[in-house]
Amino acid sequence: MKWLDRLEEILITFLIAAATVIIFVAVVHRYVSGWPLGAFQDFLLSIHLSWAQELCIILFVWMAKFGAAYGVRQGIHVGVDVLVNFLSPANRHIITIIALAACILFTGIIAILGAMLVWENGLAYVFLSSFGFETGDHYEGPTTPDLEWPTWIVYLAVPLGSSLMCFRFIQVLVTYLRTGEMPHHDHGHVDGLNDELDESAMGQKS
């Protein structure tokens, strides 16, 4: 599964970088094209970037869906552990298993609902009509306003992301049952600071 881990990381890294660059370029374009630069201004005005916001939003929603799955691996999703910490180890063990099972259930259901949404929202029409079947009650779905992409393609983030998330929770549960270990993200940790600490410092929780 190393390839899947890698793919996931590359995808979300790319998405956040691309969104940043796009907005940067769109803002610069908005201002520079307002300057009276003659033919160059006409050239700039002929570049259409009105889709930038829409694309940025789509990239970030995709980043959010796949990043949430990556976050499961990192144990980054915060919960309320006040009560759990009061329990005996045996009870805590049971509650943890129940909680993880609930996470698997939820992300699994969302993956299915998401698939249904994508199907209803245009995939069914595309699928049925391209194989020459009756489309019946299935309609050709809407497109996004600026880029005019079919929304069902855009919404694919929900079933794909949630399936991956479900898979990650299953992995976490299996590991927990085997070893009793859970991934845990230390929200107090900011990397990149370690090298700045003084020799005599007390160090930082790793």
């Binding site: 890294t13 916001q53 980043m63 959010a64 600071l193 929780k205």
Partner: protein, 427 residues
């Protein structure tokens, strides 16, 4: 009735320790499956469209900018500058801590990040200079909370999203309260340092100060990029966030050169992961507030409250207590996203200004971050100082008390929040 079911279920699920986002989502699903006729595919739709809003995109951008800054040595330079300015006063390095936190807060959207960025460098230095451990821990834990009050602020973006308020107006409304709280915390620091006669730094000469300023200027300029950009209208808040991410990248990699290009993918990945976690809470909270609306719960709660003859003063007192209690169990983003949709309609009916109400919520979140059992800043500070939570709680009390006094002021004097944005004409 449905309100009881919804909140009861949410509470039970949250207490199992599962992620808050998933507890919210499961509550919604259970409710929709069993009690309403809303087609459940609407849930999947909301999971996409819930965050399909350009304002929300400020969150990943601010997180990215913040990460470039912590990697880029900006915090260290801000501390040097702050201690060259106020280090020779009573409480020297402590005051420098407050000032450095305020400066860093003006470029970072998060409180824990502020505590870490400033605390992990300054606390060791304070100990070396002879300050007691709990003094330093108290200063940094509470001053770090300025991170969400002084703009930019991720929590403010969350509030704006939950209530359809203007991010820009909220940012401007946070400026005066943020500076004021910094002043209050600084005063407490100075007073206690004077009382116990803690060490002072030698006074820095003009040359040292100028050098420290020059050194930190690239970080300080980010304040101009973000705040100046928003109120001169060069950028929308989200664009300002994106520009600050690009700027912070350039400063970290090409100006200060504290990080290399090879470190960039890791910073991007960590920022994306943190953002995704917050965006996942937002999506599920949006669904949660959708079923509340669908059942008309906030409206009927507001009507009920008016029928009891509650006035604004009592209401705000109740809100403060409720939020402080909630701050015992949950982190700020979830609190704001869950409670704002419920409390906001009530506040509107009582004629409370939406922006003022937002600042009240943010200050409450700040206090909540500094007290146990759940107080992110406390945990962060405990990580840095290796002090226990109980010991830390005792250490922060003078500053926590200061914050509570400030909370009362902000709650009942709307002008503190509203004067500045009104002056600028953004509301």
């Amino acid at each position: 009735m449905s309100a009881l079911v919804i909140f009861g279920l949410l509470l039970i699920l949250m207490l199992t320790g599962m992620p808050i986002s998933i507890a919210l989502g499961l509550t919604v699903l259970t409710f929709l499956f069993t009690m309403t006729e809303v087609p459940i595919e609407a849930v999947a739709l909301k999971l996409f469209t819930g965050i399909e809003k350009f304002e929300i995109m400020a969150i990943p951008f601010f997180i990215l900018a913040g990460n470039f800054l912590t990697h880029g040595g900006v915090a260290r330079r801000m501390i040097n500058f702050a201690s060259s300015m106020v280090g020779h006063w009573y409480g020297g390095l402590g005051l420098a801590g407050v000032l450095a936190c305020a400066l860093f807060a003006a470029v970072s959207g998060s409180s824990p990040a502020t505590v870490v960025a400033i605390g992990s460098i300054l606390l060791p230095a304070m100990l070396k200079a002879g300050f007691p451990k709990n003094f330093g821990a108290g200063v940094i834990t509470t001053s770090g909370a300025l991170g969400i009050l002084i703009p930019p602020s991720i929590v403010m973006v969350m509030y704006a999203v939950a209530t359809n308020s203007s991010v820009g107006a909220l940012f401007m409304a946070g400026v005066v309260p943020g500076l004021m709280l910094a002043g209050f915390l600084g005063f407490t620091t100075w007073y206690r340092a004077k009382k116990f006669d803690y060490p002072r730094q030698p006074k820095a000469n003009l040359e040292t100060r100028w050098k420290a300023f020059r050194d930190s200027i690239w970080g300080l300029l980010l304040i101009v990029v973000v705040m100046g950009g928003i109120y001169t209208g060069i950028f929308t808040p989200t664009e300002a966030a994106a520009m600050s991410a690009v700027y912070a990248f350039i400063v970290a990699v090409f100006v200060y050169k504290d990080m290399g290009l090879k470190d960039v993918p890791r910073v991007l990945l960590n920022s994306a992961s943190m953002s995704a976690m917050l965006l996942y809470i937002i999506t599920n909270a949006v669904m949660f507030s959708f079923i509340l609306t669908n059942e008309q719960i906030p409206q009927s709660m507001a009507d009920w409250m008016l029928a009891q003859g509650l006035n604004a003063i009592v209401f705000l007192l109740a809100v403060n207590i409720l939020l402080l209690v909630a701050g015992n169990f949950m982190e700020p983003s979830s609190i704001v996203l869950i409670f704002a949709p419920i409390l906001f309609p009530m506040a509107m009916k009582l004629g409370i200004d939406p922006i003022h109400f937002g600042i009240i919520m943010v200050v409450n979140m700040e206090v909540g971050m500094c007290h146990p059992p759940v107080g992110l800043n406390l945990y962060v500070a405990s990580g840095i100082t290796k002090m226990g939570i109980t010991e830390l709680t005792v250490a922060v009390w003078p500053w926590l008390l200061t914050m509570l006094i400030f909370l009362v002021l902000v709650t009942y004097v709307p002008a503190i929040s509203l004067w500045f944005p009104k002056l600028l004409g953004v509301m």
